[in-house]
Symmetry: C2
DNA sequence: TTTTAAATGAAAATCATTTTCATTTATAAA
DNA sequence: TTTATAAATGAAAATGATTTTCATTTAAAA
């Protein structure tokens, strides 16, 4: 958790037990959740905890790269842990079965970019690769 | 519009003037819009037109591949025309300046897939590449 | 034509998300 | 340690996009 303490501090966010609890929950599960789901969990640990606090924190965590927002089922936004934390170029993959989320650094878009720019006549500024699949545990039927 | 007439029919959707007006508007502009923006346009052409009708049609059009849904600014969902219409594998690129949307077919993810599967231990079922950039008109300052 | 299922408008409901504001708390300063 | 201050929070209410309901209209099959 030292890493996260440092990250919060670097970004001018105060270190609070609730923030650590949220981060720990994501780290422990490696799954993506809705703000509401996080709230349900947090209510078990803290007698006073409001849903807006969850929304506010998830948004801040995404901004500093601790979390990534994924568009899950039915038009809802979910958040999942991001181990790469803004530092390096990376993409995400989710398991459609158990909602596990992982990130990885390899990427070959650079080799395609020029061609796409020629075909579309756009100057490409960002690319986002998003993968869906089945994780190892789900493959094994866990 | 014959293409779209056929598509609607194939998918069991009735052919109505309002549906054509919506599709034409997307075809003419090549930009992505919110349901509300489509509604504002449609109100000029039809004295009776409800916002739920817009929502219902955009959702159906996306389902049959006429439109694609993009996550635009500020947590809203936008819709843009998709010329490839579900037939071929393709990806989308948007202009962050004028909201133009285009699709293209070239893709090199196949070459990366195996490596990502090894690293992440996922079986990859879908990949989505989403690009943002500046279109030709905006580059020229139009 | 007639029939039938889909499409629609209007109004209301839903529900995720955000805002407001008074209070609490982490942390920097003294 | 104590104090000061800005950030974080809870509670309640507001917002606003999206969906539902249901009676009516309309496209298209019979």
């Amino acid at each position: 958790m030292e890493k996260y303490k440092k990250l919060l501090k670097e970004n001018g966010l105060k270190i609070t037990p609730k923030r650590f609890a949220i981060i720990s929950y994501f780290l422990k599960n490696n799954k993506y959740f809705t703000p509401y789901e996080i709230w349900k969990f947090m209510k078990k640990k803290f007698k006073k905890i409001g849903l807006p606090t969850i929304y506010r924190n998830l948004e801040q965590f995404e901004k500093i790269g601790i979390l990534t927002r994924v568009e899950g089922e039915e038009n809802r936004f979910y958040y999942g842990i991001c181990k790469k934390t803004n530092k390096k170029h990376h993409h995400h993959i989710i398991c459609t079965s158990c909602h596990k989320i992982s990130d990885f650094e390899i990427c070959n878009f650079g080799q395609l970019k020029k061609q796409v720019e020629e075909i579309t006549e756009f100057d490409i500024k960002e690319h986002h690769l998003f993968l869906k699949g089945i994780c190892q545990n789900c493959k094994k039927g866990v």
